[in-house]
Symmetry: C2
Subunit: 232 residues, 2 copies
DNA sequence: ATTTAAATATACTATTGAGTATATTTTTTA
DNA sequence: TAAAAAATATACTCAATAGTATATTTAAAT
């Protein structure tokens, strides 16, 4: 509600509009910050206690505000869940896109993609796991929008593998399901990975890339390549 | 409660004990049947609506009984969830054990294992997915018991890979995480697989085995091997 | 300074659903 | 067939919590 008011006043064409806009911008920044902080705390709680196990008051308490405060930023609990779920997949998609724009062979691109997407998926572990766990609780509209992104993600990876295969860089069998399995590796990563475990993040990402390369029949990462990607 | 009574009367050493036992057995069978039917319907509902989204009454309605009926077979809702979660992992573990007792090379054993475990994991899709989704909602005791089985499962697969590697059949890199990724393939399978999709179960199982073989650097399945396992 | 409006909090409603006390029916035993 | 016990159902309690109507404070505009 208040968000929309803000947007409107921001597009008003009065004189002295500059000063107005600066003010408007600060407000919008504050608004965004508050929204993001709510999402952030909700993410942690959803991850730890599950969606059903998290009350709006618990989120409010973490932020030292009250329930209606939350409701002035989100229509209802479902909307918070949708925001949490969307954050993870959106960022993963962004990172995927930037990795895909790496130049080099398709194999190079795949390495970059797996490493960077893996990295973000670990960083956004709580979002991704919450998404995987709670999709069923989203309302159809949100679910459809997020599924759309998810499909785009899968499709882009499938295309990368296809292109690399056409270029003769990858060696796939007939009726290859490699895109699915690689998507599986990525989705599985945040589920089992624990920052508390023995494996370092770099070890895990190296493992992910290695597994991905094996699945499509490409050559192993060399020491040079490994050092390159680790020390960047 | 009534279950325990039954067990006691079954171990009584009166004369005519045979007749008693037969009766006792029938009763126990009925009891087990009812319990299993509750678990069955709960599994479907948990899968479709989530644990929190499923009411005890909904389960009762499906079976055309009433709420207290359910409560006479399960202490509370959590106990039903525990039973649902345990069913999947228990069966997967059983199948794993039988697959591991296949004779042949380690590669043969791995093929058998992936195929059969994949098969059961598809069949028990709803249980497995519910388990992955709702672990957090189990009480610590149930969670610990089920985690135990889960660990046994992972450990057995890790051992198989280790043994095959020692025997020189598999080609792993240093600090190999292959057991984890293979466990990932298996766990990921029921999440994305849809019986409604284009891929047949056999195609998917073949894909799973192929991916597994690639991950540990073993030779592809031959046509003969494929026909062997498909037509059994 | 005064008015207006925006942000935030207090205190409530209303629903849902887990779990249970009690009644009734059915089955078993004697 | 009468008494006892087991299985099942009816009708409730009680707690949790999503969501809201209303009050209060804070900030902005004139």
């Amino acid at each position: 509600m208040s968000l929309e008011t803000e947007v409107k006043s921001g597009s008003s064409k009065k004189q002295g509009g500059d000063a107005k806009n600066v003010k408007g911008h600060l407000k919008r920044e504050l608004l965004t910050l508050k929204r993001n902080r709510i999402i952030e705390e909700a993410t942690i709680l959803f991850f730890d206690e599950g969606y059903a196990g998290t009350t709006i008051e618990a989120i409010a308490d973490k932020l030292q505000v009250t329930k209606p405060f939350i409701y002035s930023y989100f229509k209802n609990k479902e909307a918070i869940l949708a925001a949490v779920c969307e954050t993870g997949i959106s960022e993963a998609l962004e990172v995927l896109q930037s990795a895909l724009s790496t130049d080099g062979t398709y194999r190079d691109i795949l390495i970059q993609t797996l490493w960077q997407v893996g990295d973000i998926v670990i960083k956004r572990q709580a979002c991704v796991v919450t998404y995987l766990r709670e999709i069923k609780k989203l309302n159809p509209k949100d679910a459809a929008r997020i599924l759309q992104k998810r499909k785009e993600f899968d499709h882009k990876i499938a295309k990368l593998i296809d292109d690399g295969t056409s270029a003769g860089e990858f060696d796939l069998g007939p009726r290859a399901m490699d895109a699915i399995w690689i998507g599986g590796l990525i989705s599985w990563l945040p589920v089992w990975f624990s920052a508390a475990g023995k494996l370092s993040k770099n070890d895990v990402l190296f493992g992910l890339v290695s597994a991905g390369l094996k699945l499509i029949g490409a050559a192993k990462m060399s020491e040079v390549e490994k050092n390159n990607i680790t020390g960047q």
